[in-house]
């Protein structure tokens, strides 16, 4: 059955074309927003020092060329939307946006990672063989693609939701209503509903419904009979999150519009027909698209290259297992953050830290503390102060810096305190560990002191 599904099952390409256009438009808005908020400068150009993902220290900041990178991204996105030189555009977009994300892990967000993953998948999908400038120019369009190509995107969205839901099945989220309790209480200034956000029952209701939503929504979206109502839930849920947490940026819109891929083929055809009529006002050429929209018998089917299916299967195997890599580490995941990223742990914890560094000359025993503001932006300092891999990388950077200044026999000790989900702050890093002697790796970081509490759950 699986074999016949993978080789025989076909679907109309309209949903994929709509997804391409919608994704492109969202990215266009996101890029322009990122630029106009001044984040290209403040996140990628202003900092003297960038925190690197393990194994990606070769990715360098580009200085003012970062603007060129983002300009190219915007051009590529326009190509994606129009389906003009699509393959080139999407590959360029994937490489450029992923490169920019790799410059500094301080900016890591699940939805940036999500964006890169989607862009990666789209590199191999025939998203512009239909309803695109490419199709018009080649005067060739298709009306069937293998079902797994559209279902792959759906599966990926399902994984995102489901894993985000599983991550919420823990004692802090469900039994303490944390961190939502901390966050919602401070949202007293939201019109109308702000008044009730201080009540404990609201925090519990929000926590539980958030968890249930994330776990179950994929199934309701997949099941035809519940699809429409589920989509209404998607819209309501993400609008709520945007109201409560304006700082989550584009994420709600990406999820709402991304979920349209679950809707019926006919819905997608309607949208494209609407678009075609609109476009035809500007150029008669777009009427060519009409032909292809209406002929369903022609059966011009798309034959994907041999390597794509195995590639997709590998991608999904990684996606399914990667979020569970935390099980290979001892200690509390939220505290140590070993295996935390790339696992769809979204809005899951409130963590605040205060970490200062003591530089010591091991021979003459002289010590002094570093003012982090001399080296890091406030945003970097905030992220560094509670994430062990940041602390280690920064400690090495400091050692390097002071060695160049002529200091010798340098030892670096962290004086670090972190509070998690409303717990009192605790000492985070073993103050007797010379971080200059510790090497970054995927191994367990023994110098992170264990959390004095236990969080139960997945």
């Amino acid at each position: 059955m699986l074999k016949s599904y993978l080789t025989k099952s076909k679907v109309h390409p309209a949903p994929l074309a709509v997804f391409r256009i919608v994704f492109g438009l969202l990215m266009l808005v996101a890029l322009i927003r990122f630029w106009t908020n001044g984040w290209i400068y403040s996140l990628y150009i202003e900092p003297d020092f960038h925190f690197k993902y393990y194994g990606f220290s070769w990715v360098k900041g580009l200085g003012n060329y970062t603007y060129l990178l983002y300009s190219s991204c915007i051009i590529a996105v326009v190509g994606i939307i129009l389906g003009y030189r699509y393959r080139l555009s999407i590959i360029l977009f994937f490489l450029l946006i992923t490169y920019s994300e790799l410059i500094d892990k301080t900016t890591y967000l699940n939805h940036y990672y999500f964006t890169s993953c989607i862009a990666f998948l789209l590199c191999f999908l025939p998203a512009a063989h239909y309803f695109s400038i490419d199709a018009i120019q080649k005067e060739k369009s298709i009306d069937a693609i293998p079902s797994w190509m559209v279902d792959g995107i759906k599966l990926f969205l399902c994984i995102v939701y489901f894993y985000a839901g599983l991550a919420k099945i823990n004692s802090d989220w469900l039994l303490e209503a944390q961190p939502l309790s901390l966050w919602l209480t401070s949202k007293y200034d939201i019109p109308l509903i702000g008044e009730i956000l201080k009540y404990r029952w609201v925090h519990y209701a929000a926590s539980w419904s958030g968890m249930l939503y994330d776990v179950f929504i994929p199934f309701f979206l997949l099941y035809p009979k519940t699809r429409s109502i589920a989509f209404v839930f998607v819209i309501l849920f993400h609008i709520m999150t945007k109201i409560f947490f304006p700082s989550i940026g584009m994420f709600p819109y990406i999820m709402i519009f991304g979920a349209t891929i679950f809707l019926d083929v006919q819905w997608h055809k309607n949208q494209l027909e609407f678009l075609r009529k609109f476009a035809a006002k500007f150029s008669q050429k777009f009427n060519f698209l009409k032909l292809k929209l209406t002929t369903s018998k022609a059966n011009v089917s798309f034959k994907p290259k041999q390597y794509i299916l195995p590639l997709f299967i590998s991608f999904f195997i990684i996606q399914i297992f990667l979020p569970f890599r935390y099980l290979t580490y001892p200690g509390e995941l939220f505290w140590n953050e070993q295996g935390y990223r790339f696992s769809w742990r979204v809005m899951l914890m409130e963590k605040k830290g205060y970490t200062t560094f003591k530089i010591k000359d091991s021979i003459n025993q002289k010590t002094f503390y570093v003012d982090n503001a001399d080296f890091l932006t406030p945003f970097q300092e905030r992220q560094m102060s509670f994430q062990p891999d940041f602390i280690l990388e920064y400690a090495h950077y400091l050692a390097n810096h002071f060695e160049k200044q002529g200091h010798q026999n340098i030892q670096v000790f962290a004086d670090s305190f972190v509070a998690l989900n409303g717990r009192p702050s605790e000492r985070f890093i073993d103050p007797s560990t010379d971080l200059n002697q510790e090497i970054e790796s995927f191994k367990h970081k023994k110098w992170v002191l264990p959390l004095k509490d236990e969080i139960h759950g997945l």
């Binding site: 403040s42 404990r200 539980w208 419904s209 249930l212 605040k352």
Partner: protein
């Protein structure tokens, strides 16, 4: 689907019912003089801001202004008639005014922030070379940032104690008007008055109302700015400037010449204790000049958020503030001597204060969900 939805609804309503019955605790509510009977479910941010403005900030600025005018008078009588008696009177008044200053340095908001009030009133160490240049050339612009360290209390400290070896020589310098020391002192005094008037009139004007009404939780709202200012002052103006830097925490070796009121020497402890009192009063909502009058405060705000917690953060903060204060009390009144003779005690004091920084910056700001900076980037 319908079945599942109803399961969801039932589950949810069960949870809701369960939790409402939990949250009906009734702790003893402290009497604070204002109407906060419903503290359990309501926190009146408007009252808190009103209390800050009307009972702490504006009265402390006014009181400071009165003393500053006296300082001006004593400076006039000293410069017109320099002798040991007028010098002592002026020094006393300088200390009185300096102590008042400790109550307003943390309010770096509104006009005070715009005109760099705290940087011009109390940046130390003083730039002695610049001061001497200004005096000998008598051509200077105190509004230029290069002169921030050559005016205010620190410059005054130098002019009162540092320009010569002993009091006779100091008096001699002021007796010779051609040396300009007298004119420079008066120039600095009138600049301090001028700056204070602009801050004071700002608060007495429309600013007070807009401050009080800004109760929302945004990066630019009064509560957030005040909390950030308070924490920043505690960490920088109080912990680092008064203790950490002179004790050598950031430099590898002690820097006793970095103490507050370096030339006066014996005043460093008094000033530090006064600042501690100002911090405690603001945190606990004690009116300026009247310890019996209290109002809504950060402490109450924390207790409101922690209404179901028994080990209150506010209590831990107050205990730690007290621990720091005890340490300061054990120090030599002259921090310079303390640092030179037993810097270890100075470092221990710093550590006690540092523990409070962690409670304020990590625990408190997490509970109040106030961001420590304005770096805006998306989060998830």
């Amino acid at each position: 689907m319908k079945n599942l939805i109803s399961i969801k609804v039932i589950l949810l309503s069960l949870i809701l019912l369960n939790c409402t019955s939990d949250s009906d605790t009734n702790d003893v509510i402290e009497e604070t003089g204002l109407n906060i009977e419903e503290q359990q479910t309501e926190f009146d941010r408007l009252s808190m801001l009103t209390f800050w403005a009307d009972n702490i900030i504006i009265p402390s600025i006014n009181s400071f202004y009165v003393e500053l005018n006296s300082l001006n008078e004593y400076a006039s009588s000293f410069t017109s008639n320099p002798n040991p008696s007028t010098l002592t009177q002026l020094r006393d008044q300088w200390l009185t005014t300096y102590k008042k200053w400790q109550h307003i340095e943390m309010f770096d908001i509104g006009v005070a922030e715009e005109i760099y009030f705290k940087n011009r009133m109390n940046i130390f160490p003083a730039n002695v070379e610049k001061i001497e240049n200004n005096i000998s050339n008598f051509d200077f612009n105190l509004d230029d940032s290069v002169n921030f360290a050559s005016q205010g209390f620190t410059a005054f400290d130098y002019l009162l104690f540092g320009i010569a070896q002993d009091d006779d020589e100091i008096i001699a310098k002021y007796s010779d008007s051609s040396q300009n020391y007298d004119s420079y002192m008066l120039a600095i005094t009138s600049k301090m008055i001028e700056l204070t008037i602009s801050v004071k009139s700002n608060w007495e004007g429309s600013y007070r109302d807009s401050f009080v009404e800004s109760t929302e939780n945004t990066a630019t709202s009064s509560i957030n700015i005040m909390l950030n200012d308070f924490v920043f002052y505690f960490e920088k103006g109080y912990r680092a400037n008064k203790f950490g830097i002179p004790a050598g925490v950031f430099s590898g070796g002690p820097l006793p010449d970095r103490i507050e009121a370096y030339n006066g020497e014996i005043y460093s402890q008094i000033l530090a204790l006064e600042a501690t009192t100002a911090i405690e009063n603001f945190f606990n909502g004690i009116a300026y000049g009247d310890p019996n009058k209290t109002g809504l405060s950060i402490k109450n705000y924390l207790d409101f958020i922690e209404s179901d917690v028994s080990d209150k953060l506010s209590a831990r903060i107050n205990n730690q503030l007290q621990a720091g204060k005890n340490k300061i009390n054990e120090l030599n009144t002259n921090f310079k001597i303390q640092i030179k003779e037993n810097n270890h005690e100075m470092l221990l004091t710093y550590d006690a204060i540092q523990s409070t920084v962690i409670l304020l910056k990590v625990d408190m700001l997490q509970k109040l969900n106030v961001s420590v900076d304005y770096a805006d980037a998306d989060g998830d």
